[in-house]
Structures are given as C-alpha cells and as structure tokens.
C-alpha cells in the first residue's frame, strides 16, 4: 500500500514536472482580429499616450511553438523571397536592430496585415490572423528579440545564418550592464 502511494505520488510529481507551455495547435482561423492602434513613431505631441497592447500579442510572443510555426510560414507565404532568411533583399533586413515601423508585436502584426507604403504588401484577408501573430513572433526572434530557450534552432537546410536561438540578446546588446 505504501509502495502504491509512493508510486502514485512520484508519478504525480513526474507528471507535474511535465508542465509545458501551451500549444494552441488549432488556432482559430477567423480572419482579422482587433484593430488595435499601432503608432509607428514614439514622437507624440503632448506626451506619450499609454500603449495599447493587444491581448493576443502576449500569448504568441516568445512562444516556442508559435515561433516555430512562424518560421515555417515565413517561407510558406514567400516572406523569405523578399527578406531572405532575415538579411533582406527586395525588402529590408529583419535581423538587424533597425525597425522602420516599430518592433513591437503589434507593430509587426500591423505591418504584415496592412502593409507599408514603400513596398510591403498587405496580407489582410490572405493570412489567417493567428498566423500573422505567429509570423510576428518569429520576425522578432530573427533579431534576438526572443528568449534563446524558445527561439527556433538551426535549419535542416543549407546553413545560411546563425540560428535564431543563437542571436545576441537584443535586450542587452550594446547596453552597459
């Protein structure tokens, strides 16, 4: 009996240790989410207004599964055709520290969904909204804006750049400790 209890307890403990991040393997395919305001500048006359976060951003950002999906979709929707594997080409580089239209999840989501005037096409109604969030999460990982424990690892393909989980952490890069 004591043995049984011990087994039960240890099994419970083991299972409890398996607490993993949630995988929303069947994201809702509904088109479009909130029309969250996403300013593309920090210059706001009269002082900064409070930043409106989209509640979806947090659930997709830094999530290993979503970033991994984002990486797959990045090729699937031909993002890689213009932005290469992050270094850029027809479109700007995504792995550097420069952000033309903002680096937040909300900004990147808006860039993909609505396009930008100098060549970024609008994928509104073409890519399901949750997949846009996955793409946004992956785009952030290209420049070290994702925990290395969650960012995608190296490709099965030709090695073309340091894998996303080996990018220098953008949060500390070039800043004094």
């Amino acid at each position: 009996m004591i043995r049984r209890v011990a087994v039960l307890v240890s099994a419970t403990l083991v299972l409890a240790a398996c607490q993993r991040e949630e995988r929303d393997t069947r994201p809702q395919s509904a088109l479009g989410s909130g029309e969250q305001p996403t300013p593309v500048t920090t210059l706001e006359p009269g002082g900064e207004r409070p930043f409106h976060t989209d509640n979806k951003a947090a659930s997709f950002e830094a999530n290993a599964f979503h970033m991994s999906e984002g990486k797959r979709l990045f090729s699937w929707f031909n993002c890689s055709g213009c932005h290469a594997n992050g270094g850029g080409g027809m479109g700007p580089a995504l792995m550097d520290e420069k952000w033309i239209y903002g680096s937040s999840m909300e900004s990147i989501h808006a860039t993909i969904r609505d396009g930008r005037p100098n060549g970024m096409p609008s994928f509104r109604d073409k890519i399901p909204d949750d997949q846009i969030w996955e793409l946004a999460a992956y785009v952030r990982s290209l420049s070290g804006n994702a925990p290395s424990s969650a960012a995608p690892q190296r490709n099965d393909d030709m090695m073309v750049h340091p894998s996303e989980n080996r990018m220098p952490d953008a949060a500390t890069l070039g800043k004094s400790p």
């Binding site: 929707f77 992050g86 270094g87 850029g88 080409g89 027809m90 060549g119 073409k126 073309v160």
Partner: protein, 626 residues
C-alpha cells in the same frame, strides 16, 4: 550515340580553353605589376590584333556626331566613340569639369544622354529626369520631370530600384518608370507628351530597362523573373504611345508572335507552341522569360535582337522541360514583332542564367567567309558569336571560369550541362561557377573596331545552391532557391577582360576586388573607361590594359560611362556614381551580411562592401585641362 564524339571533342576544347584563360589572366596581372620595368617585353607580348577586319555594320553605326542619344551609343551597341581628343597619352591629365547630385541614393545604372547642348539623366526610383544645360558654366538644370511612380513598386523590384537609362529620338526623351509606365517627354521643355501604363506591380511587374527607339517605335520589356511574371516586349508608337505589338516570352505561338516567317536554326527550337509544351501544365503563365536588358537593331536586315530572361521559379525541379522561350535570344521584325529566329542559350536553365545581355552587331570574316555576326558575352559564361541572319552559333568560348556546363555542342546548339552541378529540391550543390548573377550580368561591354577587342566588365563568383519548395503568390517572389555566393577562383570578385573577337581568346584581363558592375566605353583615342564598386573611375589602355588614370568618386560605380563632344567643341567623359544594383544591394538596401542568402545570395560575396563605400548618386563629368 552519334553525337558523342562531337560532345567529347567540345569538352576537351572547353577545358583547354579554361586553362588558357587562367594563364592569360595571371599574365595580365604580371603586366600590371611590372609595368615600367618590362616595357619592351610588354609591347611584344601584347601585339595589337588585326585591325579593320571586324567592323559594325555602317547602317547600325553612323559616323560619330559627338552626341550620345542612346545608352548603347548606336544600334550596333558598340559603345565606341570616334572622339580622340582624350587619348592614351593625355588621359592622365583628366580633371573634373562639373558634378551634379541626382538626389537619389540608390544604384545608378543609367547612361547619361547628350543631345545638342543638353545632357539628360534618369535616376533610379523615383525615376526623376533631369536636363542639364551644357552650354552654360557648371551645366545648370534646364528642367526636371518627376513622374511620381507608386512607392509600392519598390517592394516588387528584384534587385534594387535601378533604371538603365533613357533614349532620345525626334525631339523626345523616352524612359520607363519602376511602376510600369513608359513616358515621352518634350526634350526642350520636359513636358510629358504621352504616358502609357504597361506594367502591373500587383503581379510583380516592374520596368528597369532603357527603351530603344526603332522606326518610330519605342521598344520596352518588363522585369519580374523573380516574381513569376510572364515576360514580354512591347512596341509603343513613338507618336502617341499606343501599343503596336506585344511579344511574350512564353506561351502559345500566337502570343510569342511566332508565325510562318519563324525559321530557327536548330531542331530544338522547332515545333508548334513550344512555349506551352516545354512546361508543366499552365506553368508558362508564371514562367518568366522577361526582357529587361538590351536590344540591338540591324537596319539592313530590318531585325531587332533581344534576349529573354530566366525561367521562374529558379528551382528547376518545379518546371521540367526546356522552358521555351526563356534564357534565349529572338530576332524579330520591328514593324510587326514577328519572330525570325530564336536560339536558347540555357535550355531548362538551372542557375538563373537570364539571357538579356547586350549583343554587339559586327561584320567579320569567319573561316574565310564574310559573315554578319552578333557577339554576346552571355551570363552562362560563354562568349557567343552567332550568325545574326540565321541564329547559327559559330563559336562559344568561356571568357572566365565555368563549371556549370562543359561547352556548347555546335552541332545541336545545345549547352552541355555538367550533371555534377545540377540543383534540385532539398539538394545542396556547392561551388557552381558562374553564379546566378552570371559570369557577366547586364553590365554592357564595348567594342573597338580599332583594336578588334571587346571590353567586358564582369564578375568572378561561384555559389552554393539548394532548391526549396515555393508557393506562387502573385506579386511576391517566386524563386525557390537558397543561394550563397563566394569569390571565384583567384579571390578577385570581378574582372575586366579584353576579348580578341577574331582569335576567340582574351588579349588581357584585369582583376578587380569587387564585381565590375559598371558598363564600359572605348574611344578612338584608344582609351577604355569603366568604374569599380569602390568608386574608382578608371581609364585603361585599349591595347594593353595599362591603368592610365583613375579618379575616386563619392560612391561605388555601377553606371554606364559615355563620352561626348561638348558645345565648346571639346571631348568630355561622363559617369554616374552611386552604388547599388543586385551586387550593391547590401549597401543601397542596408542588408545584413550575417545572412548568406540576403539579396538572393549576393550579399555573402559582398560582406565587406559596406566598409568600402556608401550609397550615393552623383554625376561626374571630366575633361582635359584648358
């Protein structure tokens, strides 16, 4: 089996030739280093080739009037000027006459034009046209015209937002905009006369080429071979801009303007609707074959000659078949567009070998017989000599390191592919030479009838390739290939080679650190001008390649030099400086060199360009001191 002995023979020939090329190349460097010490030896080694034997047809190269009315100088595309005030003796004294900022910091690939007392420049996107008054000190602006193309067009331009120049005819300046317009301006006032919208950016179409005006028609082709755009050439009426004919690069014969007058020389190009049957079902509709390069015109034969770009996507596994009529060359009647003959440089192209380079029209004696030929330094690495009346290949010799193919079978006309360098889905193939950008890309060469040499600015790069799956989404890239480029044999990424057309071998070759992405111009003063991506504008001897003069401009040079007689009766040389283009996209587009595949793999070979130059856009004009 019957073709085997011939095949083997060609292979041996190609190998032997490659060795010769390497020897010639290193010899060129020795010449440079030991310039003064070996002067007598030098003279003996570089015996000037037979002169007078090879000349452009008179009808396509009228006597030089000192103007520069089209980027290629004349219909024969020689880029040869008869001006000789600046010569190999005094070129060392050249000095700046004036400069002009184009106000656009993108790749400046255009050739300035000079007509009468006015110089015309067209910039990269936003495609501003400037007219400068050469008769007044400092060449002040006469007028400027801003077409205001759609900014979104920048997102579908494959390799920087370049423009390769305008064309002048009958008091009008004709040019194309990135967002697919052809515009005619009054050359005196800069007022638009007509504006025809012929390209659709929403399917990925852009226009970057310089138009050519032939018999009252403005010839224009589209870009978009990396976006699954179906290629075409259109003839627009120079008077009012309406489209007279359209010839597609893929599809049924009626779309390609193939009819009863079409007589290709080789069996591989004969058959009905090959533009459909040499593709998987419907793939020709998104198959490329764009015309974004150069057109030549022979008034005697009444034929225009133009190439066709690469098939799309790059991954060859996705389009089994010969993929007609991509990566080839057409001869057409300029009045109707009807095809006369076709030759395919790279059937079922494996490596993005667009066939759109310049063709120089020459008359020469070939194996004892006078022939009307067309000389083409092609992207796949071969210097072709074709009979321009029939499309027959007379000669195809590599002008640099080539391992993606093993020569050209002159009996069938077919490129002999090297199976070891064949790419495909999920397969990484290394050290393929030349690269997707070719042994030579769009950068036009120049031919001097005085020396019989063709001066070829070109690349020396190799690449690794991996085919990947790709989805066609209209208006987005359709490539399906991971590419990373590396310097070619010797480590110099570029070269400037003088090719002896009659002897079918290089006379000399200069090594350059970066790809030579600028055009060339050669003069009766025996001087050749070209630019480097560091920003040096160089004058070298047309006979020996000796460096005679150089000037460091503000940015890397990828433009086309020209030379003209100014209103004061003296000779001037002009070049646009401003790095960019595919090779310079790392600078003009601020790309990240940590990604080897950036700019379709070109960035990997250009990692240090950001340390060598910065973006710019400045016209430089030089003259001798007064």
């Amino acid at each position: 089996m019957k073709a085997l002995p011939q095949l083997a023979l060609t292979r041996v020939d190609a190998q032997r030739h490659t060795r010769k090329w390497t020897a010639g190349n290193s010899f060129g460097v020795i010449l440079l280093v030991t310039l003064l010490a070996c002067l007598p030896l030098l003279g003996a080694a570089s015996e000037p080739p037979q002169t007078g034997a090879i000349v452009p047809p008179a009808a396509a190269s009228p006597p030089d009037d000192g103007q520069w009315t089209m980027p290629a100088k004349n219909y024969a595309s020689t880029r040869f000027s008869e001006l000789s005030e600046i010569n190999d003796g005094n070129v060392k004294n050249l000095q700046v006459a004036f400069t002009f900022s184009t106000g656009v910091n993108k790749g400046q690939e255009a050739a300035p034009l000079v007509v009468g007392n006015t110089m015309y420049i067209v910039t990269p996107f936003p495609n501003i046209v400037y007219a400068l008054d050469l008769s007044r000190p400092g060449a002040p602006m006469k007028w400027k015209y801003e077409p205001n193309p759609e900014p979104a067009a920048q997102g579908v331009a494959c390799c920087d937002v370049v423009n390769r120049g305008a064309a002048f005819a009958d008091g009008r300046v004709f040019f194309n905009t990135l967002d697919g317009h052809t515009i005619a301006l009054d050359a005196n006032t800069g007022k638009p006369i007509w504006n025809t919208h012929i390209g659709n950016i929403n399917i990925g179409e852009t226009i970057t080429m310089a138009p050519l005006v032939v018999k009252g028609k403005v010839l224009v082709g589209n870009s978009g071979g990396e976006m699954g755009v179906r290629g075409w050439v259109k003839a627009l009426d120079a008077g009012d801009g309406h489209v007279v004919w359209t010839a597609y690069g893929t599809g049924p014969d009626k779309d390609v303007l193939i009819g009863p007058t079409f007589k290709p020389h080789y069996d591989m190009d004969k058959g009905k609707d090959l533009g459909v049957t040499t593709w998987p079902p419907e793939a020709w509709k998104i198959g490329g074959g764009n015309m974004w390069g150069w057109i030549s015109y022979d008034p005697d034969l009444n034929l225009i000659f133009h190439g066709t770009g690469n098939p799309g996507p790059w991954n060859p596994d996705l389009r089994p078949g010969d993929n007609k009529w991509t990566s080839g060359i057409f001869a057409r009647d300029p009045d109707t567009g009807a095809a006369k003959w076709f030759y395919q440089w790279s059937p079922h192209d494996l490596h993005d070998y667009d066939g759109i380079n310049e063709q120089i029209l020459l008359d020469m004696t070939w194996q004892g017989k006078p022939r009307k030929v067309l000389v083409r330094p092609e992207r796949n690495g071969y210097l072709y000599i074709l009979d321009r009346t029939t499309g027959e290949v007379l000669s195809a010799k590599p002008f640099g390191p080539v391992n993606s193919s093993k020569g050209v079978d002159l009996k069938t006309g077919r490129l002999i592919e090297n199976p070891d360098k064949k790419t495909g889905t999920g397969k990484v193939v290394r050290d393929i030479c030349p690269t997707a950008s070719g042994l030579k890309d769009w950068q036009p060469s120049a031919f001097s009838p005085k020396t019989g040499l063709l001066y070829i600015p070109h690349n020396n790069l190799c690449m690794d390739e991996e085919g990947v799956e790709v989805n066609y989404i209209a208006g987005t890239p359709y490539v399906g290939m991971n590419v990373r480029m590396i310097p070619g044999p010797g480590g110099n990424r570029g070269a400037f080679t003088a090719w002896d057309v009659a002897a079918e071998k290089p006379a000399w070759s200069l090594k350059e650190n970066f790809p030579v992405w600028s055009g060339a111009v050669v003069t009766a003063g025996d001087v050749v001008f070209y630019g480097t991506m560091e920003g040096w504008f160089k004058a070298v001897s047309a006979r020996t390649g000796d460096l005679l003069w150089q000037f460091k401009t503000s940015s890397g040079i990828i433009g086309q030099p020209i030379t003209y007689r100014g209103p004061d009766g003296h000779q001037y040389v002009a070049i646009l400086s401003g790095v960019g283009g595919w090779a310079g996209a790392i600078v003009s587009g601020d790309l990240d060199p940590r990604d080897a595949t950036a700019a379709l793999g070109f960035v990997n070979a250009m990692k240090d360009l950001k340390n060598a130059t910065t973006a710019g856009g400045t016209l430089y004009v030089f003259r001798l001191p007064r």
